[in-house]
Symmetry: C2
Subunit: 540 residues, 2 copies
């Protein structure tokens, strides 16, 4: 099929060609290189799979043993009588090409190559990879040089990491196994749940695009978080991301922003970090939210799961104290958002009930003796102001301001179709209020500058999302620009119609998908060319 070449997600047969279900939901698993040697990867893999409540069948393969840790061992994969969904390989790298041939022979659906010793070691390792690809026919492969995968909802820990996080809705894909382990360990403490964890390794076969498409369709996954060092196949990645970002947040931390870190990334995986500017532009256009810190990866995920994205950058700040609002304003501007200009009618309404000394401006300082009722009335007015595209409510512990009461009063605004945040400042005196806000899905921050930072990120994400529907404004060849121009009108028509007729997300998606096929082919081609050119420059 012609479409398959430029946009796998549009191929309706694609799902059936895709074996990733055998990776994340296997019924039968073979561990090749299973062993009981202390402190070995092979032993940990066996322990993680056998001693768990995972329901599938596990087969151990080791030509030198009859049994391992009390379980039967097979001399080779072909001696296993059952069909194998997933093989996990932890043998020396030079044996792997042969094993892949055997797996194809036995009709195994998928494999995870844990073993290291491939292209990260240079030419000889690269040759082994080429050999694997030569032997590979239908099997899908994760790795090599990776930690493996987890599916907490099935208690499936196909990694050599010790602990599994709890089940949840985040698919987390990490190009660094060690970073992945550390984040998983941390997430247990933070009570963050995952639908899947993937250590993606060298991406000899399954790559960003495959995984994004897979998790895009996975009903257990509500958002996709990624740690990326190199993009590998930009066509596949961008095409999948653009598709999935319409329905699920994709949040990415991409290392290699600077020359120095690109250098570090190169020496560590053999990967080239690529030209950051080109990538940045591409990410924006396909609706991926890029963050700079590991913390932001998870905090932005939480926020996007609780609140809608803003339609614009204009925030209203309601506060019972001036100082925190000043800090918040600084942070808002620094992170690329704006202070909303209130409508005249809003001023009139606020003047009716606010104390005379209120700030008469946004930030709306309703003063230190603000009651829950005053907060409530103020929010009610702001919600009617179309200039207000998001609201931050700041509360400092004060005499007349009961943090719990205010939280209870304003929780009805949790779902106003515009993002709302809170900064219940302090600790003990606001604790109960904070719990109420958390339970009401109003993201709450210790300090208002953090809330504004998040709104800035949110707006940048929103801006990216608009970019999916609207046209690309990258530097591109005149031919491409003509291509874009032509399709642009069609897409604009769709957006207009969608807005006027209040289309469902599904309907928008379908219509846009139909129209955008051609449009994006050209852009992605240009990007690839530019990326390659930049990579060549870096190599020099």
């Amino acid at each position: 099929m012609e479409e398959y070449k430029f946009d796998p997600s549009l191929n309706i047969l694609y799902k059936e060609l895709n074996n990733l279900d055998y990776i994340f939901n296997p019924k039968t698993i073979a561990i090749i290189g299973a062993t009981d040697k202390e402190n070995s990867v092979g032993k940990t893999l066996v322990e993680n799979l056998v001693n768990s409540s995972f329901k599938g069948e596990i087969f151990l393969v080791n030509p030198k043993r009859d049994s391992i840790l009390g379980q039967k061992a097979y001399p080779s994969i072909d001696k296993i009588e059952k069909k194998i969904d997933l093989a996990i390989i932890a043998t020396p790298s030079k044996t792997v090409p042969g094993i892949i041939a055997q797996l194809e022979e036995k009709n195994v659906s998928a494999a995870i190559i844990i073993s290291a010793g491939f292209k990260e070691l240079g030419k000889s390792g690269k040759e082994l990879e080429d050999q694997i690809l030569l032997n590979k026919k239908k099997i899908r492969i994760i790795g090599p040089n990776c930690l493996g995968i987890m599916n907490p909802s099935l208690n499936l820990n196909a990694t050599f990491a010790k602990d599994m996080p709890k089940s949840g809705n985040i698919a987390f894909i990490s190009q660094s196994g060690a970073l992945g382990t550390a984040v998983l360990d941390w997430s247990v403490k933070e009570k963050i749940g995952f639908s899947a964890f993937v250590s993606i390794g060298s991406m000899i076969d399954v790559d960003w695009g495959d995984l994004i498409n897979y998790f895009g369709d996975d009903p257990n996954t509500k958002s996709i978080l990624m740690y990326m060092e190199n993009i590998s196949d930009p066509r596949s990645f961008l095409s999948a991301a653009r598709e999935v970002a319409l329905t699920k947040p994709i949040i990415l931390i991409k290392a290699g922003r600077t020359k120095e870190s690109a250098h570090a990334a190169k020496s560590h995986t053999g990967a080239l970090a690529g030209s950051d500017e080109v990538l940045d532009a591409a990410l924006k256009r396909v609706g991926v939210l890029r963050v700079n810190t590991i913390n932001d990866l998870f905090s932005m995920n939480e926020i996007l799961s609780k609140q809608p994205i803003p339609k614009g950058p204009h925030l209203a700040i309601v506060t019972n104290a001036g100082g925190p609002a000043v800090i918040a304003t600084d942070s808002l501007i620094i992170h690329g958002a704006k202070i909303a200009t209130l409508q005249d009618s809003t001023y009139e309404k606020l003047n009716e009930f606010l104390p005379q000394a209120w700030s008469h401006n946004n930030p709306i300082d309703i003063l230190g003796d603000a009651t829950a009722d005053l907060y409530h009335k103020t929010l009610k007015v702001l919600v009617e102001d179309e200039n207000v595209e998001g609201i931050l409510v700041i509360l400092t512990p004060q005499f007349m301001t009961d943090a719990t009461l205010v939280a209870n009063k304003i929780k009805e605004f949790a779902d106003i179709g515009r993002p709302i945040f809170a900064a219940w400042m302090g600790a003990k005196s606001v604790e109960e209020g904070r719990n109420i806000l958390a339970a009401s899905n109003i993201p709450d921050f210790e300090f208002p500058d953090q809330a504004c930072r998040s709104f800035g990120y949110m707006w940048s994400y929103c801006y990216n999302m608009i970019g999916i529907y609207e046209t690309a404004k990258v530097q591109s060849s005149i031919a491409t620009q003509k291509k874009i121009k032509k399709q642009e009108n069609i897409i604009n028509e769709i957006i207009k119609k969608a807005r006027d007729e209040n289309w469902s997300n599904d309907k928008i998606e379908l219509e846009v998908l139909r129209a955008k096929q051609d449009l994006f082919t050209g852009i992605i081609d240009d990007l690839e060319t530019e990326n390659e050119k930049n990579n060549q420059t870096i190599r020099k």
Copy 2:
């Protein structure tokens, strides 16, 4: 004395003229406006002082009552038989000028005006302030429009905030009472201790400069943290900060970075935020560390209390995983620091014992199976490399890497005369190691990007400190430049001598102080002029 005009801290009589001790260590306190009215500031003040274990004597003043909450009340201040160190005023603003006259009459040493209703209300309020200043002779005044002060080591809570934080070494000065309360509340949870808390209010008398000088001399104070909205008297502030920053970190969050927030600050305290660029330059020159978030205020304080400031921006990163080091490198560069270029001899030494596949570069990736011994050997080599001006040790939970063992092995490097940080990534598997690091004064971070951000701030602080000794490079008049040039040589001589002869901090301070008097007068004058000019522009 002539010097008093441009540098109060150089006046040896200054301390005796200074009544701030009567504010922070009073033996007798009068509460003017004491009451038992529910939910009143006056009642809370009484409760906070009377129901505490504060050792001083408290006198209540209220012309309409004989007793308040079971304690005798005096009709007026002059009826109290004892000498009063500190009066706390919580009466309506229009009564305050008269009260100040009475306090002078009675020879009260200091006053805190809690009452609001002064210049923040416009012309009539400003006139009340003028009247206070007219009536004031020797008394030192904090406020008006403030929350009050605390001295936790004496259990002295002279504010209307409910809880007092624990005793410690931080003096925290806040120009926003509400922000102050919120931070104090939060600090109780975070177990942060304070030597003093000051809500500085409108600064009719006691200002930044007075407080910095006072806490500079206070043996219980090891660092000064400030939330500032407007600088008020730049001469006094800069002179004091320059002085004290030589021995104690001064860390500041200054709101009003942006046009929008300056506007917000203006509407809230009547203060003009001033030209941020001018202030920024001035802060750098006097050695004040400016941070952007409330969190950074405290995290940087912790770091500066544990580790020395770096001599330069060059960091070495040791890691057992590539990915986190790549993220760290990005963060390092973004925050203005640099990757250290290792000496050839360092490479030779590292090659002797590191596994062949180590990164052969900084970040120094000693690979996933790094033992405690390998970490220890690597640090031993790095410490000998003069190009390395700081070290970050990253550990991810891995098979062969015991987080506890590594922490124990490397804790001997806590005090190498260069800053050392750790990022023990994860949670459960590194918890014990983290505790060991914390106990050894090696700042530890959840993620390495946070460590690099802190190193960047540290370097910026260090850079500012160098600025104190070296010359100012601000745009200044030719006359000023000549002045500077003349003194510059003298100061350079001192620095050179100090380095060669390894002077003590006290000795450096003394010599520099002697020399710099004239030098800074001119610069501060220029700054004031420029600041005023900018303020005028803003006013227009």
